[in-house]
């Protein structure tokens, strides 16, 4: 009888130890994931710089604008593209600030590289790339820098929170009651 009780307590101890190890590993994985995610903005910024370099060289791998215009039809004028660029920059910055305020995890950086490449492409077709290159570059750099900062601060806060949870787990053997692992 006594031996059975001992066996039961050993099994319960093993289960608690397993749960603790699983929670510890989960937290470590989440910290690793956040560290990886925090670089996302910088990767997007690097990709944008590559696209900007191609645009600076007037897209050497694309057919001439005349050939594209002949098959697709005339593009919008540079003025219309510029107005849309201002609207887009304004909206993107406001969205980024709102996400920063609400602490929302959002993977939007690479979409912006796509949108900005489209602006480069339209200016290329409208023969206005030389005049408006720096405007697109400035818009892209601002938006992606803002997104990088948002993602970096979000991940930094998450890493601090997870590290505190990990320290609490090491100290007490359980996670803090008010912090669920899915918070961040």
């Amino acid at each position: 009888m006594e031996r059975a009780d001992n066996n039961r307590s050993v099994t319960a101890g093993d289960t608690a130890s397993d749960t603790r190890a699983t929670q510890r590993q989960g937290l470590l994985d989440e910290i690793k994931g956040l560290r990886h995610f925090s670089n996302r903005g910088l990767f997007a910024l690097s990709l944008f710089l590559v696209v900007s370099t191609l645009a600076w060289r007037n897209f050497p791998y694309l057919p001439r604008p005349e050939a594209i215009v002949a098959s697709l039809g005339p593009p919008p004028t540079s003025q219309i593209i510029s107005m849309v660029l201002i609207l887009y920059t304004f909206s993107a910055i406001i969205l980024s600030l709102c996400r920063m305020m609400a602490s929302i995890r959002h993977r939007s950086s690479f979409c912006h590289v796509g949108y900005l490449s489209v602006f480069y492409f339209f200016y290329y077709l409208a023969d206005g790339l030389a005049d408006n290159y720096w405007a697109v570059f400035g818009a892209g750099f601002t938006i992606l820098l803002m997104e990088s900062y948002r993602i970096w601060t979000y991940c930094n806060e998450g890493i601090i929170k997870k590290t505190e949870q990990l320290a609490y787990l090491e100290r007490t053997g359980r996670l803090p009651l008010d912090d669920s692992p899915s918070d961040i």
Binding site: I93, W134, A135, G138, A139, I143, M146, Y149, N156
Partner: protein, 274 residues
């Protein structure tokens, strides 16, 4: 830098305001430049029209001397770089530079290729298509207008030198204008816009920093100083004139501090009795 409130608050504001201002500046300047260049091309086209009207009578009379005099006089006007009139075959008939007269022009040269790219030359062009820009031998920017001289009934029916009525274009006028005035205007506009943008940026950042310091940082410092001093002096009153949120924190801290003091005194009294 990012540990403090000022750093965390000012970095996004700085990025957003500076970036958006630069983008707006560049796009606005590009739009203004387009308008100024279009205006300049419009003026150059008008001038080309005036030259054609001025030489029309002399051409009808086939008066080479009068034509040369008109071309020379116009080219002496400030800002006019060159004036040339080509025949249908591309030979310079009149020019402000006497050395060019009777020379053949290559139809593949810049300014000619636009119409002569195909076997059948184009005979009508829009205002912007007539214009081209290049640097002259001394490195100055020149805006040139190449405009066709069309055949008119007076030309084809004239007794002196008959052109067939089927010939649509009789020759070409090429007039080059110095771009110095336009570029100076653009440079002045660019400078003023840059100054305005920098002033706006400085004012915005100064406003944000001043408000942040007044509304957040100074009350936070008061609260910080209060908590630090109350560790040494527990009877210290909490600071007044704090914003609502910070005032609540200060009052809570004051309340906890007093409770702690009471508990400590009780514990001390109990210890004495024992």
């Amino acid at each position: 830098m990012f540990d403090k409130i000022a750093g965390r608050a000012l970095v996004p504001v700085g990025i957003v305001v500076t970036g958006f201002l630069i983008v707006c500046f560049l796009l606005l300047y590009s739009a203004i430049k387009t308008v100024v260049v279009q205006d300049s091309v419009g003026h150059a086209n008008n001038l080309a029209g005036i030259v054609l009207k001025s030489t029309r009578y002399a051409m009808l009379k086939s008066d080479r001397e009068l034509n040369s005099a008109i071309v020379q006089n116009i080219s002496q006007q400030k800002g006019v770089e060159h004036v040339r009139i080509f025949s249908k075959t591309g030979i310079v008939a009149f020019s402000s530079n006497a050395g060019e007269v009777n020379r053949q022009v290559d139809k593949k040269a810049e300014g000619c290729i636009l119409c002569h790219a195909k076997n059948e030359p184009i005979t009508t062009l829009g205002n912007m298509e007539k214009a081209r820009t290049f640097k002259n031998s001394v490195g100055e920017d020149v805006l040139a207008i190449t405009t066709p001289i069309y055949n008119e009934p007076e030309c084809s029916e004239a007794a002196c030198h008959v052109h067939p009525s089927t010939q649509k274009v009789l020759g070409t006028l090429d007039i080059g204008l110095s771009q110095d005035a336009t570029l100076n205007s653009l440079s002045s506009i660019r400078g003023q816009m840059a100054l305005f943008s920098v002033l706006t940026l400085i004012l915005t950042m100064a406003g944000v920093i001043a408000l942040l310091k007044m509304i957040v940082l100074q009350p936070m410092r008061k609260l910080q100083e209060y908590t630090e001093r109350s560790e040494l002096n527990s009877s210290l009153e909490h600071p007044s004139n704090l914003p609502y949120e910070l005032d609540k924190i200060a009052k809570s801290y004051y309340f906890i501090r007093n409770k702690l003091e009471e508990v400590e005194q009780k514990a001390a009294n109990t210890g004495k009795h024992l």
